[in-house]
């Protein structure tokens, strides 16, 4: 290993011995990341575009700034010690992102191997954010409103029905067959009926999202409640608990691990149907925007919007994970 480093250094520097001294105080991955990001910046401004996309200057400035930051970090990180542990952990990712930007820029805008309009260079996406920012922000707000109304109401109703299905024999007798019948039907298949049952298209959209997120929560909550250790109920009844206590203080917390599995599934399904739900006569929304731009071959706009949706979904997943870890701290010994 040290041999390999020595030969690499020997080729690059005039006095290998002095460079090796410096290298012990340098974060190597930081230097490599700086090089990769600098390459992306240089490729963006240095080479002529096959097709102009706009915002090259801004993109080059951003990745160039990134390169400068990594260059500075390469020397600062060894002195920060523990504080920079997170930065060091993601070092290989920073390099990969720089390389990815460079190749992306080269294959699209510079060499034209991946042609317009189907592909866009990274500065093309950036250009979308720059020029479409006001409209995108409105779309994000609309989408979040639709998603949160649908998800929250779907989860609340799904959870309540799930508890009833898992708890009550009679409810389960009537409810389970219906759930088994409705469960596998894609939420979007209900669109024709929703137009009849709901006064506004927005309410219909909320219903579609609620259905997509509510069904998995319902199924997993009912199986969670049904699989609670019977001995817990015996303990509760023996200690003088009412039925309400058994449901709310024993069945509900005991089934929580299952409920969270349902919540994660519901979250992914709800995002999957969001695009379709926003077809229903929406004026704004990320899903609507994607469809609108697809129709006009605005693929850069489509990619830029997909990226926003992916980030929002990942952010919500992260919040859900944090909530789960907090609520299920008692489970630590089991997992």
């Amino acid at each position: 290993m040290s041999n390999a480093i020595e030969t690499l250094d020997g080729g690059a520097a005039s006095s290998p011995a002095s460079l090796r001294n410096v290298q012990s105080g340098v974060w190597t991955n930081g230097l490599l990341a700086a090089a990769a990001w600098a390459a992306a910046a240089l490729a963006t401004v240095g080479l002529p575009d096959v097709v102009p996309w706009g915002s090259q200057g801004l993109f080059a400035a951003i990745v160039g700034g990134g390169a400068a930051i990594f260059f500075a970090l390469a020397f600062a990180v060894p002195r920060l010690g523990r504080l920079a542990a997170g930065v060091v952990h993601y070092g290989p990712w920073f390099i990969a992102i720089g390389v990815w930007f460079t190749l992306w820029e080269l294959t699209t805008a510079k060499f034209g191997w991946l042609p317009k309009p189907f592909f866009s260079p990274p500065n093309g996406l950036l250009n979308v954010y720059v020029t479409e920012a006001p409209r995108l922000i409105i779309c994000i707000a609309y989408t979040l409103r639709l998603w949160s109304l649908g998800f929250v109401s779907g989860v609340a109703i799904g959870y309540a029905i799930g508890v009833a299905l898992g708890w009550s024999k009679r409810f389960s007798y009537w409810g389970m067959p219906i759930l088994k019948l409705i469960g596998p039907v894609p939420a979007t298949a209900w669109i024709p009926c929703t137009f009849f049952f709901f006064p506004t298209t927005f309410a219909a959209s909320v219903f579609i999202v609620a259905l997509a997120s509510g069904i998995p929560v319902m199924i997993l909550t009912s199986s969670g409640v049904a699989s609670v250790n019977r001995a817990y109920y015996d303990v509760g009844r023996n200690l003088g608990a009412s039925d309400w206590y058994l449901v709310s203080r024993i069945a509900a917390p005991a089934s929580l691990p299952h409920v969270f599995v349902g919540l994660f599934m519901g979250l992914y399904y709800s995002f999957a149907v969001l695009v379709v739900a926003e077809m229903l006569g929406a004026k704004f929304g990320l899903g609507w925007y994607i469809q609108f731009q697809t129709a006009y071959s605005g693929y850069a706009n489509v990619y830029a919007t997909l990226l926003i949706m992916a980030l929002i979904c990942a952010g919500i997943v992260k919040v859900l994970f944090m909530t789960r870890d907090r609520l299920l701290v008692w489970q630590k010994g089991f997992i």
């Binding site: 001995a231 817990y232 303990v235 509760g236 200690l239 608990a241 489970q331 089991f334």
Partner: protein, 263 residues
């Protein structure tokens, strides 16, 4: 070494109840066929007595405890506590299981508080939870979760969860059965001490003859399923007892003989 009954009482009035089991038979429905587990069992337990039920495993001892707790109703016969028949579970008669069955999502303190909370009297009696944890030596673990406890500590917590309700009758279903042998010996001694301090009536199911002799003032031997009463032995040694007491060793041999295990 004489424990005063007044020393660590959790509640105000000391009480214990007598149990009258009269001609109790019970059978389980197994998808059409009936499996008889108890066959006209009659047993009287005086208030404050410690009775051990001994028998081969699967003979129906645990079922008898469930019937006395009121969690299930017998197919035939009557179980009465201080003269009144049992028709439902009640916190004055608490069943302690072989598994601690602590709620894994609640802290030890909240587990112990379950009975008081379920009956909406926790606000007035929070100090009783602390007293019960003190009684079983778990006051340092009030905020721990069950998965952080050892087997012995978890069973102590389960005992505290029962004792906080000041039961008049404690039904112990092999409570030490799953513990390692050293912890079991320790808890046997503690159990006797708790019984003598609190003065409840105790009904213990076990298949450990030595445990029965160490704890109980009377040992009732049951037959194979369906269980009937095979023999009764009165144990008059004073507490605390010693495992190597010659009288207990002689009794142990006789009981093993009744169980068909004499050598």
């Amino acid at each position: 070494m004489v424990a005063r009954a007044t020393a660590v009482r959790i509640a105000s009035s000391p009480r214990s109840v007598g149990v009258d089991i009269r001609g109790v038979s019970h059978a389980f429905d197994l998808g059409g066929s009936r499996l008889p587990v108890l066959d006209s069992v009659s047993l009287s337990v005086a208030g404050g007595e410690f009775v051990a039920l001994l028998g081969p495993s699967g003979c129906g001892k645990s079922t008898l405890l469930r019937l006395v707790s009121g969690l299930e109703q017998p197919s035939a016969g009557v179980i009465a506590v201080d003269g009144s028949p049992i028709d439902r579970p009640d916190p004055s008669r608490i069943l302690v299981f072989q598994d601690p069955t602590l709620f894994p999502w609640a802290t030890v303190w909240n587990n112990v508080a379950t009975g008081l909370e379920a009956r909406s009297v926790l606000a007035q009696h929070r100090s009783r939870v602390d007293a019960a944890l003190d009684l079983v030596g778990l006051n340092g673990f009030a905020q721990a979760y069950p998965h952080q406890l050892s087997g012995g500590m978890a069973q102590r917590a389960a005992l505290a969860r029962a004792l906080v309700n000041d039961p008049a009758l404690l039904l112990l279903d092999e409570p030490l059965g799953k513990l390692d042998s050293l912890t079991r010996l320790t808890l046997q001694v503690e159990l006797v001490a708790l019984w003598r301090k609190a003065g409840f009536t105790a009904l213990l199911v076990t298949h450990d003859v030595e445990e029965a002799l160490l704890l109980a003032s009377r040992v009732v031997v049951l037959t194979e399923r369906p269980a009937r009463i095979k023999a009764e032995f009165s144990v008059e040694q004073t507490y605390p007892r010693h495992r190597d007491d010659p009288t207990l060793i002689a009794l142990r041999r006789r009981i093993l003989g009744v169980l068909g295990l004499a050598t």
